[in-house]
């Protein structure tokens, strides 16, 4: 009896969403001058926790702090859990200084996913800005894996400069497959850049998709998402088919602490992926 109780307590500890599990850094790849991707595997040798595209983990750098980072790897082929982030605060800067073999605490996965499997038979328009491409990457993997289930798939991606383009080689490889249309634009061109210059929202009007049968997945700075929604609605995409990944200061990740309250919802528990028509009344409000 005592043994059973101990076992139950141990199991409860392991599955407690507030307790980080140790992961080792298998891979650390510098993507751009200020972004990097961590490839993580459980330190105890067990398999990587399964996740859905759009979900996030809380990553804990011991002695520094914990931050929410979206999962950016392939959900179905995931020997190492990947997270791409930018070095902006104390935790992500410390994370960027870690080395292969170092340990990191992982809680998760948390949050709502992108509606990929549910929307078979439709065109998919993916609009990403800056580091916002990272949470959309698992959705792209999932769409490409079952390519025959979907109609057109279009990725519109905006970066600051050509040097800031994330996953450049992967984008080139995908573009070469001819069953995915990719348009990249930068806010500031440079000599030698022969692609689009201008904000990513300007590409929406030029893109080949059927607005009456399109699902739009949007992730990037909130201002960019506001203008992307305007362009999508101008093209005729229904509000219930527009999905946004929202961001607020998340702490507990399970809807207890209230740090990420967004009107009546918590981003960590009810989001980060929201259907636009469900947040339209509060979307873009300065007070929320």
């Amino acid at each position: 009896m005592a043994h059973t109780l101990e076992l139950r307590a141990a199991t409860a500890l392991i599955t407690d969403p507030m307790i980080p599990v140790w992961y080792g850094i298998e891979r650390l790849k510098r993507e751009t001058h200020d972004t990097f991707t961590l490839g993580l595997a459980p330190a105890n040798g067990t398999g990587v926790a399964s996740f859905s595209p759009g979900q996030f983990n809380m990553l804990y750098v011991f002695g520094v702090g914990e931050v929410p980072i979206s999962i950016s790897s392939d959900p179905e082929n995931c020997p190492a859990l990947e997270h791409t982030t930018r070095m902006v605060g104390a935790v992500t800067k410390a994370m960027g200084a870690l080395k292969r073999g170092d340990l990191i605490g992982v809680r998760g996965p948390f949050g709502t996913p992108w509606p990929v499997a549910e929307e078979a038979g439709r065109d998919f328009l993916i609009v990403a800005g800056g580091i916002g491409l990272a949470p959309l990457r698992p959705a792209l993997y999932a769409l490409m894996k079952q390519r025959e289930k979907y109609r057109k798939i279009v990725l519109l991606y905006g970066a600051r400069t050509p040097e800031d383009i994330l996953y450049r080689h992967e984008l080139e490889r995908w573009r070469g497959k001819f069953d995915l249309e990719i348009q990249v634009t930068v806010d500031r061109g440079a000599s030698g850049w022969r692609g689009n210059v201008g904000v990513v929202t300007t590409l929406v009007g030029r893109s080949p998709f059927d607005p009456s049968n399109t699902v739009a997945l949007v992730c990037g700075p909130e201002v960019m998402m506001r203008f992307a929604v305007m362009e999508l609605q101008k093209r005729g995409v229904a509000p219930q088919r527009i999905f946004l990944s929202m961001e607020r200061n998340m702490k507990c990740a399970i809807g207890f602490c209230g740090h990420c309250q967004y009107g009546p919802a918590f981003i960590c528990k009810d989001g980060p992926v929201f259907r636009f028509d469900r947040i339209a009344p509060i979307f873009g409000k300065a007070e929320i």
């Binding site: 902006v88 600051r160 634009t185 061109g189 201008g198 904000v199 300007t202």
Partner: protein, 154 residues
């Protein structure tokens, strides 16, 4: 499928809703043009007597920065309107426009259309409304560019 110039103009959202007589006049002001890669479509300071609809390819709208070379302000692509300096004095281009790829476009005689708009204010108002939309969209896009949204401190 080769489309006639008239059907291209009729199907373009920019001209949607125009009266038949106005469409007929506009078709008379248009011609198909091509530009090779790196060819200038217009240069800063030159007379602005046209505007273009880009049918294929990408155009760099740029400014020459002394000792640095051309700086691209924005690109204009398939389905977009290029050029509105023909609408307002002094009717001179404020930027260069250079073909980044081979360009297929419709070239509209702005001088002729300008004269017609002065004569027929109904047409003038319709054209101005449409160009005001283009200018608004470009202004919005430029404001977003100025915000440097993806910068570390955005």
């Amino acid at each position: 499928m080769i489309q006639s110039l008239e059907s291209v103009i009729r199907q373009h959202p920019f001209f949607r809703g125009l009266e038949e007589r106005h469409i007929q006049f506009i078709v008379g002001c248009a011609k198909n043009v091509r530009f090779d890669q790196n060819q200038y479509i217009f240069r800063e300071g030159d007379a602005a007597d046209q505007f273009y609809f880009i049918r294929e390819g990408l155009v760099s709208v740029e400014l020459m920065v002394p000792q640095k070379g051309p700086a691209t302000v924005q690109t204009v692509g398939e389905g977009d309107v290029l050029g509105w300096s023909w609408l307002a004095p002094p009717y001179r281009w404020h930027f260069d426009a250079r073909a980044l790829h081979k360009i297929h476009a419709l070239d509209f005689d702005g001088k002729c259309l300008r004269a017609k708009c002065e004569e027929d204010h109904d047409l003038g108002y319709e054209i101005l409304k449409r160009f005001a939309n283009v200018v608004t969209e470009r202004l919005d896009a430029t404001r977003l560019q100025l915000l440097d949204l993806y910068g570390a401190h955005a």
